[in-house]
Chain length 215, copies 2
DNA sequence: ACCTGAACACCGTTCAAGT
DNA sequence: ACCTGAACACCGTTCAAGT
């Protein structure tokens, strides 16, 4: 409780001024409100009010609303990477693609607004958040590694990169369409079933299941 | 010019009041501004000002900003469908998937903000725009038809629907990631090359290489 | 160093009132 | 019927001023 020893004037406790670590308080409040109202309507004023601080206070910790949102997005990329990583670690080789896709898709479904923020235009022009570019690159590198591992391709080769691109497109396409409700999903279809269906579709389009075979 | 014959009072021309078809004027102005400022910052006030009309005027033609945006999105879905349709019509069987993907991707790249609007959360809650649901359904149906045609699947069958899902995911995933700049695209790579690369990646992931790619 | 109050230039939306 | 003016309740952002 006795936080600062160097308090040389006044009473020890000052409950009127909000003390330190306002940045994390802001971030936490924003994260909580994000899933309530969505990325577009998340206002700096509202999150400031939520933690009982003036609207201007945030500007001592973040450059702008976009910057705050950028930090949130970076958090998201880190969590997404972890989720995929964990799942990929305990997956049987051969089913790695499916497991990674499942983990990716579940993360998006469980944090729809955060996911929208990560891949949406909301915090464009930020990029200042050092963590963002890193976290994003790390996510992509991870996908690449998972894909390369399962397909037995030389990591870094052209094939591995094309495959990683495809994997990323698959995960994001499905997640994005689902979250935005643009899919005409048959009712009663679980998340896992939807992923399997998409994988099945790709197998039909690109596989040996009778598409291209001249046989 | 002499629009109304029943003008029984006053002078025939009234250049001070903005006359009729304000709805299409609004829509056109919004469409133009959309690609300038993006869906998030497209304000009803600004488009009203652009055509020299009061901010409140728009509410006699649209329920809300979301509704205006919904109409714009519907326009987009119709244009997208046309673009894919045209391309698909003049494509050699076997390369239909690639041609459709190219058309889809190009439309998105040429109208990035419109595309973002169509698949973004900006006009959620609208749905009132009758044209929207229709236009969207029509787009999806078209993709389904194209896919089914090329893969030789029974239209309406489970396989055809899975394949259509995959096709949709492919197109949207690639377009969305590209437009949002989340892709680490090697410089100098053209749109077409990017599409081919993704197709190649899918071919690697899901089976035989070289389904419909070039050589 | 950290936060507040007040202001500025914007929003979407409503509603009485004008023509 | 169609449009305006003025108002309400919001925004993001800045900046002098307080502690």
């Amino acid at each position: 409780m006795k936080t600062v020893a160097k308090a040389k004037t006044r009473t020890v406790d000052r409950p009127t001024y909000h003390v330190g670590h306002l940045d994390t308080l802001l971030l936490d409040a924003a994260r909580a409100m994000l899933e309530e109202v969505g990325p577009a309507k998340l206002s700096l004023r509202a999150v400031s009010a939520r933690i009982g601080v003036s609207p201007a206070a945030a500007y001592h910790h973040f450059d702008s609303r976009a910057s705050l949102l950028g930090h949130l997005a970076a958090q998201g990329f880190r969590e997404l990477a972890v989720a995929v990583e964990e799942r990929a670690a305990t997956a049987a080789p051969g089913s790695l693609l499916r497991e990674a896709a499942l983990a990716y898709f579940r993360f998006a479904c469980r944090n729809p607004c955060l996911y929208q923020l990560m891949f949406g235009p909301e915090f464009i022009g930020d990029e200042s958040a050092v963590g963002l570019a890193d976290a994003r690159t790390r996510s992509f590198t991870l996908v690449q590694a998972v894909i390369a591992k399962d397909s037995g391709l030389e990591p870094g080769s052209g094939g591995a990169r094309s495959a990683a691109l495809a994997g990323w497109v698959l995960g994001h396409g499905l997640a994005s369409l689902t979250i935005q409700g643009r899919l005409e999903r048959p009712e009663g279809l679980t998340d896992d079933q939807l992923v399997d269906r998409a994988l099945q579709g790709f197998a039909i389009l690109f596989g040996s299941s009778g598409v291209s075979g001249p046989a």
